[in-house]
Amino acid sequence: MKFQIPIGPQHPALKEPISIRLTVEGEVIKDADLRLGYNHRGVEKLAEEKSWIQNIYLCERICGICSHSHATCFVQGAEKLLEIEPPRRGVYLRYLVSELERIHSHLLWLGVAGHEAGFDTFFMYTWRDREVVMDLLEMISGNRVHYAINTLGGVRRDIDETLRGKILEGLAVLKARSEYYFKIGAAEPTFVARLAGVGPLTKQQAMDYCAVGPMARASGIDRDVRKNDPHDFYNEVEFDVATADSCDVLGRTIVRIKELFESYKICEQILQKLPDGPIAVKAPRRAKPGEVVSRYEAPRGENIHYIVANGSDKPERLKVRAPTLANYPATIEILKHGFIADVPLIFAAIDPCICCAERSVELVDARSGEERTLRFSDLRRMANDRARSLSLQRNVAWPL
């Protein structure tokens, strides 16, 4: 006997509107289907009407957790098109905020994971500590969430000696707290038992379904834009790519905790090496015609912006591929053999950022002009068909 269970778009287990349709047999999920589009606002279209500088603030508002990621990804690309080079100090400050944002995002995620696993104390703990990094971000940029620190050709605010001291202090506090979490993760048997073995995704599957970010790294793939295709800043600091090979929600937790430590390391190095000089250069208003692909490792995985310039003061096209979107196919695969009770946990483990991923899933048939919104199952089927028809290339090893 098969049943269909619709979850969402407004549902207690989901913080954002998305709809999941599960086909279950008893407790076991046989099929899953995602319906997107509840949060689609039309950011990409809107970007075509705004100037380069306005678009930074629009991109920031694609998502509220990785706001700096989208803004930086856009700015990186736009700077290439505008042919300007931000000064060293500006770059350092920009990536300082990046790493602090990663810390805040991972702490937030740890809390959510604890909450979904029924460990609410952990949720309260991590969110309390998250306020420390929020304070740091507020001191640096003036706002808690949308920092608006990026500008074309650098950053908008400088830091001074006192602030530098405060950031180091804050980092020390956070480090001590994270060590505590590390121990909880390693020693709390019930918590670990709840996470271990849930939502398995083998290395092969992770590759087939193009998982990104902590999802991929927890399956033993050490793929990180900061190492593989870095902005030259990341060559100047030392850090490791955190991986785990347990391929389950536990692994994803471990990866994120390890990444916290890497981010602390990077922040400290930035503050030690912080070069002197200006923080921004003046940017021209118009960009020469051209196109650029900009990649950036957001807390959730690889973020891609594709920007086309046509010589005016506005971009002609902006395409955003957010990491969550890349992780959906893998999630469907994971959900398929899980239990209903694990759905929130599995879903939380990809750290979904639905508003990020709500880009158009609309295809226009060129001949009939007919529009159809693709259901996820169709998308997946199309992707599978495509993968099969490319059978020659299937055994190509990942060149890393």
Binding site: P12, K15, E16, N39, R41, G42, K45, G64, M124, I354
Partner: protein, 139 residues
């Protein structure tokens, strides 16, 4: 007398429903942050509820996307009377940066009546606290 008891209980324990109508997530996170130890609205008797049928106050964020419009109206209808709506963030007030996008209705008050607006992009948790207290004072 009975009226007074009801009013007292309403004032002392407003249960809220958090509704995301296409927000960028930042406001939602700040709403959740308002529930965590630093700000802790729970000490004012505010409790986050999962279903609209249990809630008194709808805390809504976001500029209302077309897809969600009917659902928001449905959720509003499901909430028992008396109900109050708090519009959190510049988006819920007027659409914020998304104003003019093809897929949004531009503000919560285009679809359902709103009692209190809390400005900010995103709003600070302290502002949310302040808004909740102001709402309670009007009861």
């Amino acid at each position: 007398m009975f009226e007074r008891v009801i009013r007292w209980s309403r004032k002392k324990s407003p249960w809220i429903l958090h509704l995301n109508s296409g927000a960028c997530n930042a406001c939602d996170i700040e709403v959740v942050a308002a529930l965590t130890p630093r700000f802790d609205v729970e000490r004012l008797g505010v409790l986050l509820k999962a279903t609209p049928r249990h809630a008194d106050v709808i805390v809504a964020t976001g500029p209302v996307t077309r897809q969600l419009r009917d659902r928001i109206i449905r959720i509003y209808d499901q909430t028992p009377d008396p109900k109050f709506v708090i519009a959190v963030g510049a988006c819920a007030m007027s659409g914020c940066v998304y104003r003019g996008a093809y897929n949004i209705c531009g503000g919560l008050d285009q679809v359902i009546p709103v009692n209190i607006y809390i400005p900010g992009c995103p709003v600070r948790p302290d502002a949310i606290l302040d808004g909740v207290v102001k709402l309670l004072n009007t009861l």
